[in-house]
Symmetry: C2
Subunit: 505 residues, 2 copies
């Protein structure tokens, strides 16, 4: 049955002209991985020998052995001496078992009844593209997270104070957790704040939604980076706001381009590691931005995600740390430093508005899950947060280096990298003639999830590139798949390079 | 120090004409309880003997003994034979320890920078009124919830499938949980649905927010019950909608009053137990409402909270169960059946829109906390959900009876009760000349949290009454405090009754 499945798919690939020539080795690797992930090959199951598999499939034995050894390096298979090759019982932490792939719904399926706002939102939805595999962006490595300790802390505290753990919380969060976060921000982000200014939310989108609701009215303008983080864009759309994009470059949002922009109520920025290009907002631009905000009486929404992972150079002070006019709402999250599903983040509110934000937060969101907040407070206090980040940073540094090395061959006159100094992803910039959406789709047929840079922009029609994450997949996968990705980019650049245009006098 | 605190407060009460005469017994009860909750009397601490306390405070020993025995009945104190009276180490589940009471911020504190939408929202915020004590509405009894089992289920499954538990979820929720909920709804709510139509959310407000975002645009009209659930109102405000109130009575929302209403995009109803009046939407009105919706091409948002707790009569079919035009978005929650802080609820979406709602839900909210969903699936499948509800219903039935009995003396020509057949609260209706806000504040000085009915209305200026919860506090507290509450209501009715007006020809 396994060989049937593989043979059939390989034949399909051979006859279908659309997906480009995958090497036979790569084809087999992808199909075996798919079989494991879709549980057609189950945990503990013994694979046919490479010899018999090669014979059944009509492939060279070397081809089969190469595919199997890559899967072994990535933790899918294990060889037991003298017994054979088996699917591992304990698959690596980054592997997700999944059902058969569903076809993604097209936006034309959206039924007419959906509102204008809803239609707009759905058209921009990137949710169904988020298959988690090598190079998916925004996903951390789960493996360094000390899950057993985490569970123990939760269990312990849950028992201590029964009613408070099970009820809603109307104080903006568990006080010792706010204290621990404030302390972390003072030390790491050069911020000056009182513990009381921290409000615990379920994620940066909830933090943003709260700011949008309290600080703006429908049809107000918010300045955003162009290109920008789609999660923020969706929250602003849901809140009825108009977005005005300000171009970014390697130094982040360039306020000089805002001369003719409509007056903003808020400015949303990701200064530590601009999403998606990875630019770091320069100190000079930070000061200019704050001054402009003050003049315009606008608010800064500072989304400081990825600030934990800096690999080169000195960490820059947060906008919040530089602000003297109480104009910055600062937000951070545990979803990247620990794990995404934790649903815990924080919003730092300027002192005069703390009370208002706490009330609205309780009224709109009814925060709960207090046992998790209590556990997190202790997790930070005991130093585990620090250790987890430090360990993760080492993993990411290795992966980052591996990816940079793999991508080297395709860089040069037409392609460059930005955003590799910090965070969990980088961006390869490509010339305007490249169809980056098609390139991303092509990569997907190779089992790689990268995103087209052009998908993130509001008005910059010439922007092309790939956004590539290195947080999630293990080093071996990054190394192998990095080469594949580089090859795809290089081939695309060579194929699509426009003919040189002769000079005319 | 304890006697100092008590003496001082009692003197303040004696000289301050504002709070009405509390009996000395009641005063002492409240002050001792306050001392325990604010940890001035700590767990395990031995109280002075009733004799010496009486002497120190200059009270009759009977007064002291009566206050102490009530606190013992409610689980705050325990008498150890021959040793004395102690603060219990394990306080009852419903007791919340708290800091010194903060003064609630007044809405005039709202700084100017807050937007129009935000200001409106904050003016309506009821968050700071929600002190949890006898008669607080919307809070269940935590004690029947099998916490140890619940923890065990979570721990067990978390280990099973590492990556899936820690990641976001883009499928609208854990499939077996959706299946379990769908099965429950088919059995209990007469609904016909596919498992796939269930989407797991973090609460009814998130369910509502998702509906508002996808089904409406800012400035669209939503019809709501008048009076209505403030949480829904706040969500609609945040979403930029206009609310048009339709009066409700004992049979729920009366669609006959909608003749001159602007066309609605959505209609929000709480048919099982109208919040706050407790009316149950009659079958006839259910059909009329659905027909009207169909004619107007509007959507029904059916918030079926409290449907688990019916004490009298036959359970009515849900609107979803009666609908034949796919116009009903149905929502339920686990926060009342299990515990509020669980942050788990569900939205049933008509089949044509499931895909759109799942995508937007993932894009806007990035659902996580999957270990909890996995545990809940098993919790339901193994029958624990059913058992927990059944046990809780017995508790509530006793408390409901006790409250009804306690309130009997104040009912009659000027006061009546609605909403006692179902759910966790009832509503005492009072004549228009009663200042129900002042009455609720008065009750608060007695350590009771009831809410003024007039706070929930949009346009019905004559509506007066008290919304009284019986879910949270134990039977002993309901019995004792019910008498106090009845006395307060009765006294208010007697004092404020307008002089009879002679007939004029």
């Amino acid at each position: 049955m396994l060989t049937d499945f593989i043979t059939k798919q390989m034949q399909a690939w051979a006859t279908n002209p659309k997906p480009p020539e995958l090497t036979l080795n790569r084809q087999l690797y992808l199909l075996l991985k798919q079989a494991i992930q879709e549980k057609n090959l189950r945990a503990g199951e013994c694979l046919p020998s490479s010899r018999s598999l090669a014979q059944d499939l009509g492939l060279a034995r070397n081809t089969v052995m190469s595919a199997m050894s890559q899967l072994e390096a990535e933790g899918f298979l294990e060889t037991r001496q003298g017994s054979g090759t088996y699917v591992r019982y304990k698959l690596p932490a980054h592997v997700r078992l999944k059902g058969k792939k569903k076809t993604a719904p097209s936006t034309s399926d959206t039924p007419r009844a959906i509102s204008k706002r809803g239609t707009h939102l759905l058209k921009q939805a990137m949710a169904d593209e988020l298959e988690i595999q090598p190079f998916t962006q925004g996903f951390p490595d789960f493996s360094p997270f000390p899950l057993t300790l985490w569970q123990r802390l939760q269990n312990k505290h849950w028992r201590l104070s029964y009613a408070d753990m099970l009820d809603y919380n109307d104080t903006g969060g568990f006080m010792p957790l706010k204290r621990a976060i404030a302390q972390y921000l003072r030390m790491s982000r050069n911020m000056s704040l009182e513990d009381e200014q921290v409000i615990i939310t379920t994620g940066t989108q909830q933090s943003l939604s709260l700011c949008a609701t309290l600080l703006s009215d429908p049809d107000d303008t918010v300045w955003v980076e162009d290109p920008l983080y789609w999660g923020a864009a969706q929250t602003f759309r849901a809140s009825g706001l108009c977005m005005h994009g300000i171009p970014t470059d390697i130094q982040g949002l360039n306020i000089a381009h805002s001369e003719h922009a409509p007056t903003a109520r808020m400015i949303y920025v990701t200064p530590s590691h601009q999403y998606p290009t990875g630019g770091i907002l320069s100190l000079e631009r930070r000061h200019t931005l704050l001054q402009r905000c003050h003049d315009m009486q606008a608010w800064v929404l500072e989304d400081d995600y990825d600030s934990e992972f800096r690999f080169a150079g000195q960490a820059m002070s947060s906008l919040h740390g530089l602000d003297v006019h109480d104009r910055v709402f600062y937000m951070g999250t545990f979803s990247k430093a620990l794990y995404p599903g934790i649903k815990m983040a924080y919003l730092v509110v300027p002192l005069p508005w703390v009370q208002a934000f706490k009330r609205a937060h309780y009224d709109l969101h009814r925060p709960g899950l207090m046992h998790q907040q209590v556990a997190m407070a202790e997790f930070i206090e005991l130093g585990h947060f620090h250790t987890t980040i430090r360990n993760a940073r080492q993993h990411y540094e290795e992966r980052r280096q591996a990816l940079l090395q793999a991508l080297t061959p395709c860089l040069g006159r037409h392609a460059s990298i930005s955003g590799a100094e910090q965070g969990l992803h980088l961006c390869v910039h490509l010339p305007p003639h490249v169809d980056d959406v098609a390139l991303a789709q092509l990569a997907h047929t190779y089992g790689l999830t990268v995103r087209a840079l052009s998908r993130y922009t509001i008005t910059r029609k010439n922007l092309r590139g790939l956004v590539i994450g290195y947080g999630y997949a293990p080093l071996a996968a990054i190394q192998q798949d990095g080469l594949v990705l580089a090859e795809l980019i290089l081939r695309n650049l060579q194929q699509t390079e426009p003919a040189p245009v002769g000079r005319t006098s």
